[in-house]
Symmetry: C2
């Protein structure tokens, strides 16, 4: 790999001049610019970003730490982030923590030691890992999930309101005994959606990991209750799929015997049988807003952190239709 000195020699200028040309410094003689550019092309020179980052003690990389790469919710969010990042001259590296706080800690440490320009994080833990980031002065934006006890820019959906709307929708359709399957305690989305549910209903509650299997198991446990619920609000899309699978397995008719609403839309919620009523979040927009906050924070490290709450939207489909009169 040729270095900047090789280019300098080839173009018969100093390394400083090459650097200026490559960084778009306007005070360079056009003739020299041409010579440098030619030399760069001839040698196939590529600046060493590692050296540059060391010298500047910063990079143009963002770490985006998400908790489940298999969840379409996150992938759409990432798209939103990427689009803004690209426009603002940053590259995005994606880190998948897999709902595992240890993995998350590893990625946080990496972001730190790699001098990432900023981090967008949907924390799967108590935010302890994220705290190191913030303390170190790295610009951080929390997305989807709030960071407990941390003063940091945050972008979330209206979890409580969305959950309330979903539960109310079930109640108004005539369901009597509405249960709730939510995520682990301490994950802000899980707690807030449970709270929204509790504004309307007070049935049996299950906590599960936020994956399909968790939803399956939780639903199985609800079906085993003496007095079965006649509707369930599931606070996460993947768990809702798991719940549906469980209901299909146990031959429980949806919405005949049991009504179902999920939180987070799925790209194929309308194609499944029955089609799934969901609380949709503006995922792409969530990503865009978070990215814009991060850009601002990088430019103005001192400003006061802001929290932005985006509205949700209830998509009514078959799974929550009015139950047959008793």
């Amino acid at each position: 790999m040729p270095t900047i000195y090789d280019v300098a020699r080839q173009a018969a200028v100093s390394a400083a001049t090459v650097s200026r040309v490559l960084n778009g410094n306007k005070t360079v003689d056009p003739a020299m610019v041409a010579r440098v550019l030619t030399a760069v092309r001839e040698l196939g020179y590529r600046p060493n970003a590692v050296a540059r980052n060391l010298r500047r003690s910063q990079t143009t990389l963002w770490a985006v730490i998400i908790s489940d790469i298999g969840n379409p919710f996150f992938t759409s969010m990432v798209r939103g982030i990427e689009d803004v990042a690209q426009h603002s001259g940053y590259s995005v590296v994606l880190c998948n923590s897999d709902e595992n706080p240890d993995k998350e800690a590893v990625y946080v440490a990496a972001a730190l030691s790699q001098q990432m320009a900023g981090v967008i994080i949907a924390s799967s833990g108590n935010g302890k890992a994220a705290k190191t980031l913030i303390d170190s002065g790295t610009p951080v934006v929390a997305i989807d999930r709030e960071l407990p006890r941390a003063s940091v820019d945050t972008v979330v959906a209206d979890n409580e309101g969305g959950a309330e709307a979903a539960t109310r929708h079930l109640a108004e359709a005539g369901y009597q005994r509405i249960a709730c399957i939510t995520g682990p305690e301490g994950v802000s989305t899980a707690d807030l959606r449970l709270r929204g549910y509790h504004r309307v209903a007070d049935g049996p509650v299950r906590r599960a990991d936020l994956r399909e299997q968790g939803g399956y198991d939780a639903m199985a446990s609800l079906l085993a209750e003496d007095e079965r619920p006649d509707a369930v609000f599931v606070a996460n899309n993947l768990m809702a799929v798991g719940a549906m699978r469980c209901l299909a397995k146990h031959k429980v008719a949806v919405p005949g015997e049991l009504g179902l609403v999920g939180f987070d839309d799925l790209p194929w919620a309308d194609l499944v049988r029955p089609s799934l009523t969901t609380v949709a979040q503006p995922t792409y927009e969530l990503g865009r807003v978070a990215a814009r906050l991060l850009v601002d924070r990088i430019h103005t490290p001192a400003g006061k952190p802001s929290t932005i709450v985006l509205p949700t939207e209830l998509h009514v489909r078959e799974s929550s239709a009015r139950p047959p009169a008793p």
Copy 2:
């Protein structure tokens, strides 16, 4: 941020000793090790990975360049890669090229200038970008899609065989006029699956981008033919979803009026209405194998590249059921 010299001063040793301790060099006095570790903790010291990378002129980072983060096929693959990487001491950064060769080129350039230890790539273009990588000596593994005109380790599924099996399945079910929707010319998966299809059938063919909308449009165009096909083999999962949407929109009964088979399974292929017959690939395994090849290649840069082909499996569901007798 404290540097290694701050730690050295605090522990009253040299920076070299701190470095030795931190890198697990066994030839350090246990007493000094303790002193250094204490100092590290007291100062909250974190090694600067950028400086280390510069000095060692290499990193422990892999770039994984995929073409569509929204496709569950890729996310499962990435999991397989991550699991092996973690075991081998590497971290994975994910780059989403969005089926856009320009974006891909940007990420390839980044991987190069960031001195990535290796790259796993599912190229969305002609592999021109990837060529720069290989020429520079960066260890590269092609996954899912072959890199044309490049001698490089490769892991793919049996695209031709899988497509042949899918088409034969439709033919044996009694379908007479089987069409094919495949991807862009030059994308190896698209071309090979088309070839597999042609081993059995010779109906109308459409090429579309590999996304849902592409499948929708292609199906619409097939429906507009004078002589409508009575079955379609769709060479990609997302396009299959688009095709299903189109058929639902036009009220074409599946499998009553038209049989359908997709390539690449979907986590919810069994939940949609009708459930979708697919050619499943061992996605997770694809990732694991690619990662293992990359580890080997990093250790043995000179060895001869190998190509590994993993078998596919036909998952028969409702969408391809026998058509009603004419």
